[in-house]
């Protein structure tokens, strides 16, 4: 019950803040623009995949980190009331998660439904929402662990860069180094180490474009099949939502405010 109240008032605050609204509008404009420019709907969807994979994690991560630091005083104010720590954190994370969901439904879901209804759009939307939640959970954890804001933002950006740039390079190096051995079974867990790659795998298996699937996507499809491959990728993403969330609650429960 108290968690519901924290959720409600955080939602009110987020609505006033307008940043999430601006993000939804930006996505909407980009999506509509792509559908306008590209002749074929599927081409626009594929361009949109790239935009989502780059933009959604970054925005969700940075916004969550900045918001968490900004809410420090409010958190203190709540923490001296008869409210448990879990209710405070749970309410705030739910509010952020809900507003990301609404932003993506509007900014991404609406254009997709209008211009390219179908399985690909659905998988892309689900993957985008999961990506936002993964980086919401990671951002919360990072902001709770680092007392210093500059360090927290830096860590968040490093984590994002790691997922986008470093990880690909490492995977490539790994594949190259073990190119004479059967590495395929190992690709499943190794790809699961990067939530952004998981989102890409899920969407590209659905599209079934070998050119975009990449090596890890191809392995997922080959070893698991299309449906289970997508399912596995999305399930791994859920794990990526779960573990930082569990850790964040554990940290927050005994954190000095």
């Amino acid at each position: 019950m108290t968690m519901g109240k924290v959720l409600y008032y955080t939602l009110v605050d987020l609505a006033r803040n307008r940043s999430v609204l601006a993000f939804a509008a930006l996505l909407f404009v980009v999506a509509e623009g792509l559908f306008l420019v590209e002749g074929e709907a599927i081409k626009a969807v594929l361009s949109l995949v790239q935009v989502v994979l780059a933009l959604v994690p970054l925005v969700a991560l940075v916004f969550t980190v900045v918001y968490t630091y900004g809410a420090q005083e409010f958190t203190q104010l709540l923490a001296v009331q008869p409210i448990g720590r879990s209710a405070i954190l749970g309410g705030r994370m739910l509010a952020l998660g809900l507003s990301f969901l609404v932003a993506l439904l509007f900014g991404l879901g609406l254009p997709l439904t209008v211009h390219a209804p179908g399985g690909t759009s659905l998988v892309l939307l689900v993957a985008a929402v999961l990506l936002a939640w993964v980086f919401l959970a990671l951002g919360t954890l990072i902001a709770l662990v680092n007392r210093d804001k500059a360090r927290g933002v830096g860590t968040a950006l490093a984590a994002w860069a790691g997922a986008v740039l470093v990880y690909d390079a490492l995977l490539m190096a790994l594949l190259f180094a073990f190119s004479d051995r059967p590495v395929e079974p190992f690709v499943l867990p190794v790809a699961a180490l990067n939530p952004i790659d998981l989102a890409r795998i899920a969407v590209t298996i659905q599209v079934d474009l070998a050119a975009m699937m990449g090596y890890s996507g191809a392995v997922y499809k080959k070893l698991l099949g299309s449906g289970p491959g997508i399912g596995a990728a999305l399930a791994f993403m859920l794990l990526w939502v779960a573990w930082p969330t569990v850790l964040a609650f554990r940290v927050f429960r005994s954190k000095d405010l």
Partner: protein
């Protein structure tokens, strides 16, 4: 009767002990003035009681129950922090409504007399982000008193308040004592709070040097003011 007891309470931040082995009991119907130099552990002491900070060692009991994960004991506590920061986009009125809702306080059981007394009733539409430091302190005072708390904790309550408002707030604190509450006040400005204090707790480097009735301190040192008595006490606390 003790409403709050500290047993061997210590708090370590990394290598620094901000609070060390504090044993103390605070009674119902008294005002205790908590003093000490900057960095002596006053705020950590208060934060431990409020559950903002987890003690590294020891236990704190409020009304006989050890405080831990269960936040229910805070229903009885009113807290006025040293510095208040509120969500800047909210108005004073919205904040008051929200905090009442969050606390689960029924409107008819909410004591908002201070809103009137501190001259805030005409400013309820003002956004919190636009308020002066003094006005923020007034809002903070209203929040501390409105649930008619048994335990009132105030961290430098008079800092930033004009003398008239400070007197109003301290008068309210005295009323909490009259109806059997426990009041803890940290303060640098001794005279104002001294007039109210029943006992004085002195913290230094995280250690409780003494916790004694003000009258006894004055009698023992042969002075009539705490500011004069303090150096003598510190030279010979026994």
């Amino acid at each position: 009767m003790d409403s709050i007891t500290f047993k061997g309470v210590g708090k370590r931040y990394r290598k620094l002990w901000a609070l060390r082995d504090v044993d103390a009991g605070f009674h119902t119907g008294e005002v205790v003035m908590v003093i000490g130099p900057n960095g002596s552990g006053k705020t950590t002491f208060i934060k431990c009681l409020l559950g903002l900070v987890r003690p590294t060692s020891g236990a704190i009991h409020v009304n006989g129950e050890r405080i831990g994960d269960d936040p229910a004991y805070r229903h009885r506590i009113g807290y006025m922090p040293q510095i208040s920061q509120f969500p800047p986009a909210l108005t004073i009125g919205q904040l008051l409504d929200m905090m009442r809702d969050v606390r689960g306080l029924a409107p008819e059981r909410t004591d908002d007399g201070l809103v009137e007394d501190l001259g805030l009733s005409t400013q309820l539409q003002k956004r919190l982000g636009t308020l002066s430091g003094g006005t923020m302190q007034k809002v903070s005072a209203v929040l501390a008193f409105r649930s008619a708390p048994d335990i009132l904790v105030m961290d430098e309550p008079t800092a930033g308040l004009d003398p008239l408002s400070a007197r109003t707030v301290l008068g309210r604190a005295a009323a909490v004592r009259e109806r059997g509450g426990t009041v803890l006040i940290t303060s640098h400005l001794m005279e104002e709070v001294e007039a109210l204090a029943d006992r004085v707790a002195y913290l230094q480097d995280g250690t409780l040097r003494f916790l004694l009735p003000l009258r006894e301190i004055l009698a023992r040192t042969g002075t009539d003011r705490l500011s004069a008595a303090l150096p003598l006490m510190l030279a010979d606390p026994r």
